[in-house]
Amino acid sequence: MNKTVLPLALLMLVLGGAAIALSQRPWAPRADVVQPIPFSHRVHAGVNQIPCQYCHADAGRSSEPGIPAVARCVGCHGDGIAGGGIQPVTRPWTDDTPAAFEIQWNRVYTLPDFVRFTHRPHIHAGVQCQSCHGPVQTMDRVAPAIEINMGFCVDCHTEKKATLDCVNCHH
Amino acid sequence: MSTVAIISSFADDTQCANAIEQLRAAQVGDFNTFSPIPSHRIERAIGRSKSPVRWIVLAGGILGVLAGLAITIGTTYEWRLNAGGKPLLSWPPFIVICFELMVLLGGIFGFLGVMMLSGVPTTEMEPGYDGRFGEDRFGIVVRCDEAEAARIELVLKESGAEEVVREGA
């Protein structure tokens, strides 16, 4: 009896455990991201002490931190490039379209489609970028230092007495 | 002095029980019976106390209730969510869970208890075991000194054993 059943039970236990464990972290960030340009956060944020929001300027006003425009790089590294983009009603429409020049950065941090994360309130609440993204200023190539899963969010929210309403992130 | 095992078999449990009483009267303690059915006569004859498995089951039941309370209350407070305006601690549902867990653990404990106390699973057989005892014969196996053997065989024969065999143990 035990000779046959015990291993079986153990196997099932292991498989079940694995299944559950996996289900815990389907959104593990990817450590393998290689960027099209060998940009070093260490040099910029670390050595030269450039504040994060100098480049990721939207973090404070949008859900997205924003990837700095090429012009931002060129601003320091060389002359700007002419161009423009779509313009909101506060500045009327113009027909000229920008050159279709693309740098395709790869995401390091991804969130599932059913999570509505917004940077704005976190910046406003004075949360350090590093507290979620790790010591970026020490990394040449950014790799995720922290696995951002729901537990991570919830712990911080509990600690900071922030909202714990499910719908705020899931809607 | 070497000990021997005297294997006797009986047609029904009345004789068997009777034989056991005779043995006990004859101050023979070290014996073991086999029977195809659980027989109260035999049990009474041997006259042991009630099986302690009761207490194991009780323990399991209590543990179950406690586990139920722990899980329900614990998880409720792990994240206090409002569902339909009902209070966080909604006792009636919790009772259901507690009850189920009580039965569950009680049962499991009981089963394991029996296995443990009655020494199954096991691979080696008691001396003197015989397939017939599972079928339709009641058997008594007495382990005793060679010297004692004759006397005991007599007792067994007198109390109606169909056959009595002596084996060197």
């Binding site: - | 049990e43 089951v57 869970i97 189920e100 039965v103 106390l117 009655s118 020494g119 096991t122 339709d136």
Partner: protein, 452 residues
Amino acid sequence: MAAAPKISAEPSYRDIDRSVLRVMEPAGLAYWAWIGFCFTLVAIAAALWARQIYTGLGVTGLRQPVMWAIYITNFVFWVGIAHSGTLISAILFLFRTKWRTAVYRAAETMTIFAVATAGLFPLIHLGRVWFFYWLLPYPNERSLQPDFRSPLVWDAFAVSTYLTISALFWTMGLIPDIANAREAASGWRKKFYTVLAMGWQGTDRQWRHYSMAYLLMAGLATPLVLSVHSVVSWDFAMAINPGWHSTIFAPYFVAGAIFSGVAMVITLLIPMRRLLGIEDLLTEWHFDNLAKVVLLTSLVVSYAYITEAFMTWYAGDPIEQMTFHMRYFGPWGWMYWVMVLCNCVMPLLLFSPRIRVNLRALWIVTIFVNIGMWFERFVIIAGSLTANFEPSQWAGYRPSITEIMITVGSFAWFVGLFSLFSRFLPIISMTELKEGIVWLRKALKMDRATAA
């Protein structure tokens, strides 16, 4: 197998053993063909389920507002079937009922497989079955847990507990018998039974703990069997829907469960005793008693139907009344009346002792009962949903081929497992039969008398 030699009217222990054990001798081709047939159907059902998981529940006939239909009906039906086993093996054990011994093993086996079948349906009906484990509490980094206020969680606990406990109870009963089989068998079977018997020898020490534990298990199983179907009934009674929200559901469902369960036992045993040649162990006397249980529970169920109707009328809630009006006279009214015919009228035949022992007639009655009880669940579950609070959302429901084939598959699954069991493990408890051998002898005498 060859026709069973009649055993003497004064059977000995050995006679019992022999006639039970010869059932377990190697089976013929017909048997394996039957098994193959059953599991082919199961395979088809499994394939359709896989497709359903892949494409979504749209492959079923489910719709607004009928969100539950055949799957849940099957769930309740099978859980109901399960109940007779525990009733016979535990409750009747506590009452020391004489005729129980010959039938309880079969009934209990049926319970196990019925629960195993029932347990599949809550999974099959899930929209995202791969997350089914969210219904159980387990530590997780999200600190999310099930809501113990939800009857579905009670279900999860009740049904799994029920499965475990009856499995243990059943195993306990089997051990001494398997020990017997061990002695009789040879070849690989001997090894097989040796392992299963776990070295049981029937010493006084073993019997002492065994009988005590068996008693206690029976004591635990008894309230459990009542609780399980009450919980199942609360899946509906706890909801506010007209036609569901009723306080009598728990006793009503339990009675129905035992009703259908015992009927199913009869339905299975009558052909089985013939096929396995154990007519001498399962005598008319046994069926007579089983039939009485069916009759009794049938009356209880009929009473429940009447009470339900009366309370609806007396409470005077127009919405509830409309739903019941739809149940009786709506487009699905015929189902209700079929149900009444099967569950209330047909069983009345069992008042006649002659029919109770006329196995062919009895068998037909119980078949009707099975059908009727399936319809009862369907009428309550799907039927009530069609006539809900919001008239603009009323609609009918038509099952899809997927649902039908999965239902068929579940029957095949159940029967297949039972057939497998019947040839590999003692389908009748030799030990208990020996204990109550006097009653068996009485029964045989009666049989022979009527035969002559």
